[in-house]
Subunit: 354 residues, 2 copies
DNA sequence: TTGAAAGCGCTAACAC
DNA sequence: GTGTTAGCGCTTTCAA
């Protein structure tokens, strides 16, 4: 395929249209966009001229410059796209964002934080940004963005000055789940966490994890459990996937002597992976092992189980972020929003058997 | 609407920096960007001035206008995000695109084709566009885009003049799978298709489907099967998901009298759904029912099966699309690319039992 | 190596 | 209703 019959003929602009229509530039602009006080006759002339010249409408680049708005909202995702989108919870969130942004006529610019895309974050044409899946090391990114003077909304992040937070009750919700287990008589409880650091280091949770962990959501959820079971141990999964959960499950369950009677997983995918591992090891869920997830996404392949989990309003979170961005762009005052999870008891938890 | 209320002090621009540094605008530009012949002393002065003023770097909007490039590649997705990203194959493709685009410093602008986002397609600030999951009714979109004079790349689409196609051997690959079944002795074969029209109408495949179907990939794959089994029937799933496949499977398998001995599903998710349905109906796979998928994504929850399927290079497809876009933007000549699927025989297919 | 000037295409503000 | 003007902030000539 040949490249565009390049720049031999420059693409027509509004001035050209105006000239051919025999009107002034601003008139042509109004006439073309269909809004504003223009006589029908003039409008027709302008439209005809545009048609003749093959005018494609106002150049968004020039519009952006003139109006100081590009109509684009950046979405910063920390992981690779394939990692982030492997978990349906993130897709749901993005869908919520897209819903609102789309309705407002804004496009979503996908930005990842990996590698040298720092440059992109510093120079991407956008009016505002939504940070998704944040870690504390986002500080640098935030500094760049703030310097650019654009509204920043973060979904589940530490309090950062100048960043509007869309929160979730990760810690109390996790504590609630932990308390539920304790009331069922469980004492040997373990956690399977989401990655705690940007390298996605996997392995047993080290005692000093608070010193090195950076991933906000994982940290909060883990803290929630330690609020109830101080010093609780467990395993850091390499990502939010069934396979990562399965590997974590094996690591925690393979030594019959020290086997936990309950596992709290930080996502439903991880929980399902843990259940798989238990099945393969001949451990009965929930009789010999209780499993709790987080998110409340509908997962295929879970039958006959119905996961005990914390159901979070992911789409609403996305929508709230989208709305916050739009309102910030309008110059409105926006308050942080906090969402709550709902504890849903399925059939993957049962009283501890002595 | 409301002017940047907070910005009582307009954000500093290069001119301000230049003034404070006591140099000319172009010099400041060169000095700031770090490239070009500028004396170390001048550069230092400029950088210091920028620092003082809190200059955030060149405004991408102005850069876009001046250079005629925004550094953004649009990705047009036909479905809702949540539908499109439910199937890992699409995520893999997007990941391939992101890989190349990211490396080239370009951002990905996500655009959906639903509702009134037509406006967005006509006016989004972008330099080129990649069409994903296309249907024939894209013609209007393509016309809009072509009018805007930007390179257009389509992944799996009909030949459209002026659109560079990144293809997949959907039809011959599907025919190959069909032939394989015939050689195994299957005669009562059915297809579970991806949605054939934009409304995602679900139900039995009508005899006159060619007249109404618009979804390129689904059509091609179905044609491939009819090349081997003319007039083959089946069921149109409502989307590419396990649940949709399960429903289609039930529809095809519930009447023991007319039950097919083999089902070709147009995606692995659909195939897994069909297997689920078979399991629930007490039909043994592969002994009583052979199932073939398409895509070759690794699916959790498939055990103990290993799906017979057509493995397609999704990430490579995405990469190729990304590279094509980049090269078209460079004004290079780019040829269409065609990818091939590899038939992988798993344990979900077996000889027909009479 | 530095400076000056000329727009990129559009729209907001003000005249007529 | 319509015309005129003046930039938005930057980069790319061309000249010194």
């Amino acid at each position: 395929m040949k490249p565009e019959a390049s720049d031999s003929h420059a693409r027509p602009n509004l001035a050209a249209v105006a000239a051919l229509a025999g009107v002034s530039g601003s008139t042509a602009s109004l006439a073309f966009s269909g809004a504003g006080p223009v006589s029908a006759a003039t409008r027709a002339k302008v439209l005809a001229a545009a048609e003749t010249l093959g005018y494609a409408g106002p150049d968004p680049r020039a519009q952006s410059l003139r109006r100081g708005r590009s109509g684009v909202v950046g979405v910063v995702i920390e992981d690779r796209l394939s990692d982030a989108f492997r978990d349906p919870i993130n897709i749901a969130m993005l869908d919520g964002i897209a819903d609102v942004a789309g309705a407002a006529g804004a496009g979503l610019l996908l930005l990842t934080e990996t590698g040298d895309n720092r440059a992109t974050i510093a120079s991407a044409p956008m009016d505002a940004v939504i940070l998704v899946g944040c870690s504390t090391r986002l500080n640098e990114t935030v500094a760049t963005l703030r310097q650019r003077g654009m509204p920043i909304v973060a979904i589940e992040a530490d309090d950062i000055p100048g960043v509007l937070a869309i929160g979730l009750d990760n810690r109390p919700a996790s504590a609630l789940a932990a308390r539920y287990l304790r009331e069922l008589g469980h004492e040997r409880v373990a956690v399977v966490t989401l990655p705690l650091d940007p390298q996605h280091t996997s392995g047993p949770i080290p005692a000093e994890w608070e010193a090195t962990a950076t991933s906000y959501t994982a940290i909060e959820r883990l803290r929630g459990v330690t609020d109830v079971f101080p010093g609780v141990g467990g395993y850091i999964a390499s990502g939010s996937s069934i396979e990562a959960g399965r590997r974590a499950g094996f690591a925690l369950l393979q030594h019959p002597s020290a086997r936990p009677t309950a596992i709290i997983a930080q996502s439903d995918l991880l929980a399902l992976g843990v259940i798989r591992a238990a099945e393969e090891l001949g451990i009965a869920v929930p009789h010999d092992l209780s499993v709790i997830g987080f998110d409340g996404v509908r997962l295929d392949g879970l039958e006959p189980y119905e996961l005990t989990t914390l159901v979070q309003p992911a789409v609403d979170k996305g929508r709230a972020a989208g709305e916050a961005v739009m309102r910030l762009l309008e110059g409105e005052d926006v308050e942080p929003v906090n969402f709550s999870s709902v504890f849903h008891v399925g059939n993957t938890t049962a009283p501890a058997t002595p």
